[in-house]
Amino acid sequence: MTEHTNQGSQPPSSQADHERVTESVGGSIAMRSDEVLDWPRRIHRFFHANPTAAPAIVLIAAVLAFSLIAGERFLTPFNLSLVLQQVTIIGALGVAQTLIIMTMGIDLSVGAIMVLSSVVMGRLAVDFGLPPSMALVLGLVCGAACGAINGTLVTRIKLPPFIVTLGTWNIFFSLNLWYSNSQTIRSQDIESIAPLLQWAGNSFTLFGARITFGSLMMIALVGLVWYALNWTAWGRHVYATGDDKDAAELAGIRTQRVLMSVYIVAGVICGLAAWLMIGRIGSVSPQVGTMSNLDSITAVVIGGTSLFGGRGSIVGTLIGALVVGIFRNGLALAGVDVLWQEFTVGLLILVAVGIDQWIRRASA
């Protein structure tokens, strides 16, 4: 009965007594043997148990640093709300990407699904005169269908997600060019015919901050998916499937179904991101969002989700997107050339992956 999770020195008996007491009182006292852990190990444990801690610290540090470097224009409600607007779409796509990456997949097609869905929404409402709400729903269905195609190829044909979505990225993007005739649907046309599609662009001012409905929807989406992951059986199964697929299978989880559901949900979220994007830029353009595939992966990685599956958090992804947004904004305000913004984001990615490796290593 005196086995300890740490492999270090045998703790003194007084500590064992102390444990027995806490045991009978509380039952779930965490990390009881911390007293005998050295500092690196305690830090390691902390980050291991709190995957969002590292990105949150980076975010806070970045805000503090840029408040000093970039002058007083940085730390204003208006500027920070601007950052939030700038990361809205990447945040939403990042949520979809997190789900996929958590199952040890990767989705290179999220941006293409989003653009295709936005074109479907715009064309159906503006060119075909469908009721805007119907066009919106069919746009979401388009996203779901794209996700289902990815999911089918991954679970049934058993192709690696990277290859599948590399292929479908090109396919969805071509379909998008074909269906849109490579033409932009103008903002004025959408405004007069289908204002619902631009709804997410509405905003209100609060303490000088300009908050768009789209930003709030993105945050609500983060909350919803967080709930699903942490408080429903489906969420446990997504984690378990990404963590160790064979183990999950033997524990009785239908992992193929879980994977399929993840790809479909991700597709729907991309459809939602399409709606947010129309709100943000007003028009529907087949050429926008081409970088958003990789940007969403960046947000996920900086947000502390492991590329090796089973570990990560949606809130972390939001923080990751904000970190990127803050760095870009702060560096721009500080008058730093755009190329150094990209350089910095690259560094952030490498640091984040390095931290993830360290956290994964030597789990005990």
């Binding site: 408080w231 489906w234 984690y239 999950a248």
Partner: protein
């Protein structure tokens, strides 16, 4: 013993993987309240046998009966729903999930009322409570924090979680595939005690093992597997370890039981 109906029984199981015949007409009987050890050389087909008995593998031919009734397991879920719990050689635990999460993986409890039915909300408090109760019943309460990730546990503790899960949910049979293979002496001892505890609660246990001393210590009967089928059934009283090894390796010929 033999007048009793076996809890779990198999006749003439056959399973081929390409050219390899993993099961070659294997028979099997497990009686109520016993610890039955299954021993055999590497590649004898032990894992395949218990996979067939737990729904993880569908045999090409042969029949399986539970309490005398013919059953055909479609998948592990199906066998589980009939009360067969298995701890696989590759532990079926999810390292990054907590202990309670792992105990209830695949059969989570939801909150009562609208929270559970509409919002599908997990009843984490109840799962934690039951997990704590289960672990303390099996004397595993040195595992303190029921939310602790399983990967932070030692090998023996992980094995303990897996055994606790099977004991908690198994109503008919608990199957353990090589539970002590990766463990040290002390941890092995604990798992052996766990096996006795589970049996003493009335659940028959199938123990697959390589380790003769362990087998002779806890088993009531010993099923010796060789070349994909049952070579003999002995008891620790009727035969010595040397006999068992002899039968296992084919050095000693026996009439098939």
């Amino acid at each position: 013993m033999s007048q009793q109906t076996p809890v779990l029984q198999a006749k003439g199981l056959i399973k081929r993987f390409g050219r390899v015949t993993a099961l070659d007409g294997a028979d099997f009987e497990l009686y109520p309240g016993e610890v039955l050890a299954v021993i055999g050389d590497n590649g004898a087909g032990k894992s395949s046998l218990i996979k067939a008995l737990s729904g993880a593998l569908v045999p090409d031919a042969g029949e399986i009966r539970m309490n005398g009734e013919l059953v055909q397991f479609k998948n592990p879920m199906h066998a589980r729903s009939l009360g067969i719990e298995t701890v696989y050689q590759t532990l079926a635990v999810s390292p990054a999930l907590g202990i309670a999460d792992n105990l209830f993986l695949g059969r989570e409890l939801r909150k009562p009322g609208i929270l559970g039915s509409v919002f599908r909300m997990l009843d984490k408090a109840e799962m934690r409570r039951q997990a704590t109760e289960q672990l303390s019943q099996l004397g595993l309460l040195t595992i303190q924090n029921i939310n602790q990730a399983v990967e932070t546990l030692s090998g023996g503790q992980r094995q303990g979680v897996a055994v606790a899960r099977s004991a908690a949910f198994g109503s008919q049979v608990v199957i353990l595939d090589e539970p002590t293979a990766a463990l040290g002496v002390k941890e092995s001892r604990r798992v052996l005690n766990l096996i006795r505890d589970v049996r003493d609660r009335g659940l028959p246990v199938v123990l697959i093992s390589h380790n003769m001393p362990h087998v002779f210590e806890v088993a009531d009967r010993i099923h010796i597997h060789r070349l994909g089928k049952r070579a003999a059934v002995i008891t620790p009283d009727s035969h010595s370890m040397a006999d068992a090894v002899g039968i296992m390796t084919g050095a000693v010929e026996v009439d098939a039981a």
